[in-house]
Amino acid sequence: MKWIIGIIVIVAAAGALWWSGFLQPWIFPQPSTSDTQAQAPAPQSTSGLPTADTDTSDSALVQDTAAVDAELQALGSDSASVDQSLNDKPVEQAY
């Protein structure tokens, strides 16, 4: 009889814990912090930089300055295109 009462008490206690949600983390494991971080979108740069606007680290600044240098080099090419367009010479026509 004592065994039966003991089993009933244990089952009742387990049911109460389950109903209260206390056992949820063990039954349905929650995603870890690292999993949550992996799913979060990376911070975006609104200035066109390759790193986040809030990233002031040395490595970020190295990447940022390299990106600016690439744009400045391309601007040199654009500037040369302006010169070329102004100095254009057509093929001489027969008429």
Partner: protein, 262 residues
Amino acid sequence: MNISTERAGIAFLLGASMLLPSLVFAQDLGVSASVNAQATTSVRTTLMQNAVTRAGQEIDRRIAALQRLNARIQEMRKVTAEFKQNLNTNIQNQVSGLTTLRAKIEADTDAATLKADVQTIGAAYRVFMLIMPQAAIAAAADRVVVAVDMLVGIGNKLQARIDAAAQTGADGTALKAALTDLGAKLSTAQTEAQAAVTGSAALAPDNGDAKVMASNTSALKAARTHVQDAHAALIAARKDVTTILQGLRSINVNATTTVQVQ
């Protein structure tokens, strides 16, 4: 220099640079789109064949230039997709017109007709010589704005680093001066880019008017100077960034990292 003010100014620049070039590209090259399929029984002379060959070379050269221009326009980042599509449509129409003209010239067997068709190439060239620099200037100005925006972002980061250094008791006076100069240079670049677009985008074809032609040429050369000045200001701004990075390294705000300065 207030960085946020500069960003607002940049936004203005972008807004202004979106509309003006589209007016120019609405111009007609003056190339006939119709093909005269009527062939005469005349036999082509050597002169005529030479004319056809030269005309084809010039038309092919212009088509190639327009297509390169269009590719560059599609890379522009500070204009709307609608603006780029508008330019793409106009350029494709002009390429189509040139292609049609080329086919017509190749089919011409009458000397008088051929001469008239070839002469339209010269007339259209005046428009070509306006459109190409205008678009090249707009593309360069777009690039300037992109670079300004990026350097503003770097300036904000450097400001945070300088503030952090000041909290440790470091003397950031020189760095702040360099940062102020950075802002001034970016403002100059922005102003020059805007001036380049404003001074060139609204120009109209001269239609054979020598005075208009001279005025257009002068305006385009002035716009080129503005682009060059903007480029120089950006290079100076980039040097300010280097100065600040070197200063931060000497302060050694973060002893666990090494700042790489180009």
